[in-house]
Amino acid sequence: MTQLDQDKMNTLRDVIAEANKQEYSESYLIAVLHKTQELFGYLPREAMDMIAEAMQIPTAHIWGVATFYHYFNLEPIGKHVVSVCMGTACYVKGAVQVLETLKKELGVQVGQTTPDMLFTLQEARCLGACGIAPVMMVDDKIYGELDSKKTIDVVNQYRKAAAETVKV
């Protein structure tokens, strides 16, 4: 583990220490897992092992919860999460084409992360932006009225930004 990861683990330990003071402390598991994902972007096994010991919850129980909720990532995710809306309106307006474009452009399937760790591709249900369907969300930013070209343009924007960050 890197020093950065160690710091994150210590933050997590503090959160658990706080949870352990509460009545029915085991019920704080989901909150602790949320915090873990917030810190690491996913649920690393080391973190789940630590949570198990610190909260005295068997790892199998943690694993059951972690795998039940789609929200939790069990593998590291990319710097940017690209979620393509597959809701009815977007679907009708060509969401499949957007998704297929992204799969081809990024070279990954849904749920996977690009080898350079820049993008993770996900499907989403209605994002509430039906008026500009089809839409996709990159992190917390919405892009609407997409077609193949526009989709690739958005991806390239992020690629360019990432390349510049590296240069600096």
Partner: protein, 595 residues
């Protein structure tokens, strides 16, 4: 007593106790509602919906395992519409199942198969996508086959509620749900203690012991191999059930005869080494008492408990007896003392153990137990496997003429016999320890306080003014409670017996599957198996391990005396903390210890 209420089942009125479920009430009235995920010793899951009944006024059919009776309730258990619904439910389960019954190990004793038959499923109507997974063959003891799993959750509840091991969980969701250890770890790398109770309660073949019957048939057919057998006390008390006999019959003589017919060159009895274990263990205990060693001393015969100790209770390792289990002592004596006596090459001996236990397969593979570059036991088969082999070889087990085990590792005292049941090791140890300590013979040798199926039993014994306090737990969940007491108040007991399985070895993970119309780990069957061993004890003239003449001879000719350097080399072992760390949830450890 609470006021009786009236319920109507299929239009007939019955007076029943309140505060029970429809299923419980119906059971007592002779209506056996079909069921699958229900087990009386486990929490109510209500997952399978097989036990649905019609209750007047309810919009939908209700799960009778989870629905309480109330006064005036009108219940229908067998309407045509209900029968169809129930059949559809089972059919949907069956359609997500390989349906390869004719090549399945549980063919003939599978609850799903029986259920499908009793539902009258004669065709497939819902054939669609079916789950496909690889088997997990990593463990030496317990294999996992998620394709056969119907997600009733009994194994998960057994592993967590009764055993407090918490190795299994239902991971993922919906169609993708799979019963697995944390992180989808292979069973071998998980906290699984190999107790095999998941196998006992599984209605299908989603959990099975790793099968070694073909290796054993190979050895039996190898003219070079000197096949030497041993069999555990509890095997004789339960194997009859695999042949359709009632529980509680001692089939020792039949088993010895059948094993000879299978081709074993020598058939010994693990009960001999149970006596040997007592010699070493009682001596070790007295040494700890006299020399202020680590107390309480905890027994070490149960292999599931051994693995549990190393992962869940590493802080108690120094409390555990260094004695190997009877099986491993027997293996060691077979390849040393016996081989030397007979002028046999120990490398040519194939040492085979028929055990009531799945964890013994794990134990046999433990490198810590090796001596002179050899394993004490080469092949372990369960009661189920040896029963299958006997059937497969066409041996008429039920009508066979009983025979005696061979000398010099086959004769046992009554103390050796009761090793198979909870409290038995303690009772056997007391019989010998008392005499070794006081020099007097214990007159009242039946220690009632440590007998029976109560989860945790305590007892006291006066040895020449020295009070010895003992405690006994069976099933790892009960053990967890008792060990919490030991952690909090180490001076409370001097001697603690732990057996990993409910009822002790008689309820082992390798015992015959429950017979038709019975449930796995039924207390009545466990009590009968225990009784068979207590009767065997009572039928013997020699009931104390140290009075066994073959044991005395073994010490004279080979081991010298208990805890000698020879004993230490072959009969003792060590334990060390192992990963992954096992975690018992807080609520299972909330014990108030009264001083």
């Amino acid at each position: 007593m609470s006021k009786m209420i009236t319920i109507y089942i299929n239009d007939k009125a019955y007076k029943v106790e309140p505060n029970q479920t429809i299923m419980q009430a119906a059971d007592k009235l002779g209506y056996k509602i079909p069921r699958l995920c229900y087990h009386p010793k486990l929490s109510i899951e209500g997952a399978c919906r097989v036990c649905i009944v019609e209750v007047e006024g309810q919009r939908n059919y209700v799960a009778s395992c989870a629905f309480p009776v109330s006064d005036g309730m009108k219940i229908k258990t067998n309407t045509q519409e209900l029968r169809r619904a129930r059949r559809d439910i089972v059919e949907l389960i069956v359609d997500n199942h390989p349906m390869d019954c004719h090549v399945c190990e549980r063919d003939g004793n599978c609850e799903l198969q029986r259920l499908a038959s009793s539902m009258g499923i004669r065709a497939r109507h819902f054939a669609g996508e079916r789950k496909r997974y690889d088997k997990d063959l990593s463990s030496e003891a317990v294999i996992r086959d998620p394709e056969k799993c119907i997600l009733c959750g009994r194994c998960v509840r057994m592993c967590s509620e009764i055993q407090q091991v918490h190795n299994l969980t239902q991971a993922n969701r919906g169609f993708n749900t799979v019963v697995m250890p944390a992180y989808d770890l292979p069973m071998k790398e998980s906290v699984c203690t190999a107790c095999g109770q998941c196998i006992n309660v599984c209605p299908t073949a989603a959990f099975l012991e790793k099968n070694y019957t073909q290796e054993l048939f190979d050895a039996l057919n190898d003219p070079e191999a000197i096949t030497v057998a041993q069999f555990a006390p509890s095997v004789r008390a339960a194997i009859g059930e695999a042949f359709g006999l009632q529980p509680g019959l001692n089939m020792e003589g039949q088993l010895v005869a059948a094993m000879r017919k299978l081709g074993f060159k020598y058939v010994f009895d693990t009960q001999f080494s149970a006596d040997l274990t007592i010699m070493e263990e009682a001596s070790e205990f007295l040494e700890r008492v006299q020399n202020k060693g680590k107390l309480p001393m905890i027994t070490s015969c149960s292999s599931a408990w051994m693995k549990c100790l190393e992962q869940f209770y590493p802080d108690l390792i120094d409390n555990v007896s260094t004695c190997k289990s009877p099986m491993s002592m027997q293996g060691a004596m077979t390849k040393t003392y016996f081989a030397q006596k007979m002028g046999l090459d120990p490398k040519k001996i194939v040492s085979v153990a028929a055990m009531c236990c799945t964890a013994k397969k794990y134990e046999a593979a433990r490198p810590e137990l090796m001596f002179d570059g050899m394993k004490g036991v080469d092949i372990v088969v369960t009661t189920r496997e040896i029963a299958w082999m006997i059937k497969s070889a066409g041996i008429d087990f039920v009508n066979i003429k009983p025979e005696q085990p061979d000398h010099p590792l086959g004769m046992s005292s009554g103390a050796g016999a009761i090793f198979g049941t909870t409290g038995g090791v303690m009772e056997a140890a007391i019989r010998t320890a008392y005499e070794l300590y006081t020099g007097q013979t214990l007159v009242d040798i039946e220690v009632e306080g440590v007998r029976g199926l109560k989860g945790i039993k305590e007892g006291k014994l006066d040895m020449d003014g020295q009070e010895i306090r003992v405690a006994v737990a069976h099933g790892l969940g009960n053990a967890c409670k008792l060990l919490e007491v030991v952690r909090q108040d180490p001076s409370r007991y001097h001697f603690v017996e732990i057996m990993g399985c409910p009822g002790g070895c008689i309820g082992g993970g390798g015992q015959p599957y429950a017979q038709i119309n019975t449930i796995p780990l039924d207390d009545e069957a466990l009590n009968k198996r225990a009784q068979a061993l207590y009767d065997l004890d009572r039928s013997k003239t020699i009931r104390r391990s140290h009075d066994n003449p073959d044991i005395q001879k073994l010490y004279k000719e080979f081991l010298q005396h208990p805890l000698s350097h020879v004993s230490h080399k072959y009969l003792h072992t060590h334990y060390k903390a192992k990963l992954p760390v096992g975690i018992v949830p807080k609520e299972a450890k909330q014990i108030e210890v009264t001083k």
